[in-house]
């Protein structure tokens, strides 16, 4: 079961996800990157079966790439990207659903703010200040409820993320040794830290 969560702060968003790719009693991979860059200033953290996770992430990111190519480099706002993403989930819902729960984080230069959107596989969409998908929510939401406030800086937001990871390693049944953390701000999408390098084949 994947752990995916995110925190919005003043001027950006942090997305974090565990790195394990497992099924039943087997771990296939422990350096999977579940956070896909969608555009120069947004990323999608996805949880779900690996097939849908990869398929959906790539589908959305390539469609957004086509948009930019067709429209002279114009970038969709985070709000528009999130609604587009939700629309795709909604259309597929009654045909062949994507069993993915996601968190879309983006930075908009026009407002100078980051924004975080929570989406589940029923195509529900909500703008949030912080959010979790999966079992993580039972452990981490209460930490975020207590610690999050308006106007956090990046270090404070990272501190919340680290606290959540620590809580999970202490109390969550499943052992998740590796987490990947990405920051989305005015400088784009950057990997802050990872437990295991996704580039290692």
């Amino acid at each position: 079961m994947d752990t995916v969560f995110g925190v919005e702060y003043e001027g950006g968003v942090i997305l974090a996800a565990d790195q394990s790719n497992a099924r039943s009693i087997l771990t296939y991979q422990s350096n999977l990157d579940k956070i896909t860059k969608l555009s120069p200033s947004s990323a999608l953290a996805v949880s779900g079966p690996n097939a849908d996770l990869v398929n959906f992430s790539e589908y959305i990111s390539k469609n957004l790439a086509i948009y930019q190519l067709s429209n002279d480099g114009l970038q969709l706002s985070t709000h528009a990207q999130a609604n587009y993403c939700r629309g795709e989930l909604a259309t597929a819902l009654r045909k062949g659903p994507y069993q993915v729960n996601c968190l879309l984080g983006g930075y908009d230069a026009s407002s100078g703010k980051g924004s975080l959107y929570w989406m589940d596989y029923f195509a529900a969409l909500s703008k949030v200040n912080y959010g979790c998908q999966g079992y993580a929510s039972s452990f981490c939401l209460s930490i975020m409820d207590r610690d999050w406030k308006e106007g956090l800086d990046q270090d404070q937001a990272v501190a919340i993320v680290d606290k959540c990871i620590k809580e999970l390693s202490l109390r969550f049944l499943m052992n998740q040794p590796n987490f990947i953390i990405k920051v989305i701000d005015k400088d784009g999408v950057k990997t802050l830290k990872f437990g295991s390098d996704p580039a290692d084949t």
């Binding site: 429209n71 114009l74 969709l76 706002s77 709000h79 528009a80 609604n83 587009y84 629309g87 026009s110």
Partner: protein, 275 residues
């Protein structure tokens, strides 16, 4: 020579021309003039209202100006029936985009979609092109106010000021001389002096008029292009797009407001000794 190659849209002539498309463009030159002018704080679209018969029931809606969405409107020159189809298409595409992205469609994208629709009728299907030219006026947060012109070929371009319909060449040449010159805005006189110091550029900077100045200029051009010598508010339709509290506002001037602009233009003209 053209006879053999002009009856089918899907055939090039030996000179490399598509005659059907050119004939469609010709059809528009008989239609009522439409002028579009981009201003600092909005867009003005002025059109000639052609009353073909006194027996016609007065129309409640305009036959020239159409709202495509909250932030885009257009002026039509050409076959009204053809225009209706394209306007439906424009409204549909604008609506679909907003449904998908929960955001208004960037103006150029909408224009390109309508134009791609028109282009199909110049390449396949064996159907004639649409005999319509459009002026699209729109606002989006990426590029602000924009004015586009499109024709039956499916070509479009962005303009600061342009004219379509009858006598458009005369209108365009008048705009070329007058747009951005001192009559359209009072601040310009001081601006021009400041600009001279910046660069020793050979070309003069064109400064954009404000909506009021653009309205006067549009009426001036319309006076020139219209058949009748006397201008009146019945024969003109003046549309303004502007921003109010961050929202786009569409307005067609009523009789009094339109007459006021016409009178202002007349007052400007008379000191120069024009009749």
């Amino acid at each position: 020579m053209a006879r053999r190659y002009d009856s089918s849209t899907t055939t090039f002539s030996p000179e490399g021309r598509l005659h059907q498309v050119e004939y469609a463009i010709e059809a528009i030159n008989n239609a009522g003039t439409c002028i579009g002018i981009l201003a600092k704080d909005g867009i003005v679209m002025a059109s000639e209202k052609r009353v073909t018969s006194g027996l016609l029931a007065p129309s409640k809606s305009s036959e020239k100006t159409y709202k495509i969405s909250q932030h885009v409107a257009c002026n039509v020159a050409g076959l009204t029936a053809d225009a209706n189809i394209l306007i439906d298409q424009a409204r549909l595409r604008a609506g679909r985009y907003e449904y998908q992205y929960c955001e208004p469609i960037p103006v150029e994208q909408l224009v390109e979609l309508v134009c791609n629709y028109k282009q199909a009728y110049t390449q396949y299907g064996g159907l004639r092109p649409f005999g319509v030219a459009f002026l699209f006026a729109g606002y989006d947060e990426h590029y602000g106010f924009q004015l586009y012109q499109s024709d039956p070929s499916g070509n479009y371009s962005g303009w600061k000021a342009t004219v379509i319909g009858s006598n458009n060449q005369a209108g365009k040449s008048l705009l070329k001389n007058e747009y951005g010159s001192s009559s359209s805005s009072e601040e310009e006189e001081e601006e021009k002096e400041g600009e001279m110091k910046v660069e020793g550029a050979a070309t003069e900077e064109i400064s954009m008029p404000d909506v009021k100045g653009a309205l006067r200029l549009a009426v001036k051009v319309l006076n020139k292009t219209m058949d009748a010598s006397a201008s009146s508010s019945e024969k003109m339709e003046l549309y303004v797009m502007s921003l109010e509290n961050g929202q786009v506002v569409h307005k067609i001037l009523n009789k009094e407001e339109a007459q006021k602009v016409i009178d202002e233009v007349e007052a400007e003209a008379t000191p120069a000794g024009e009749t």
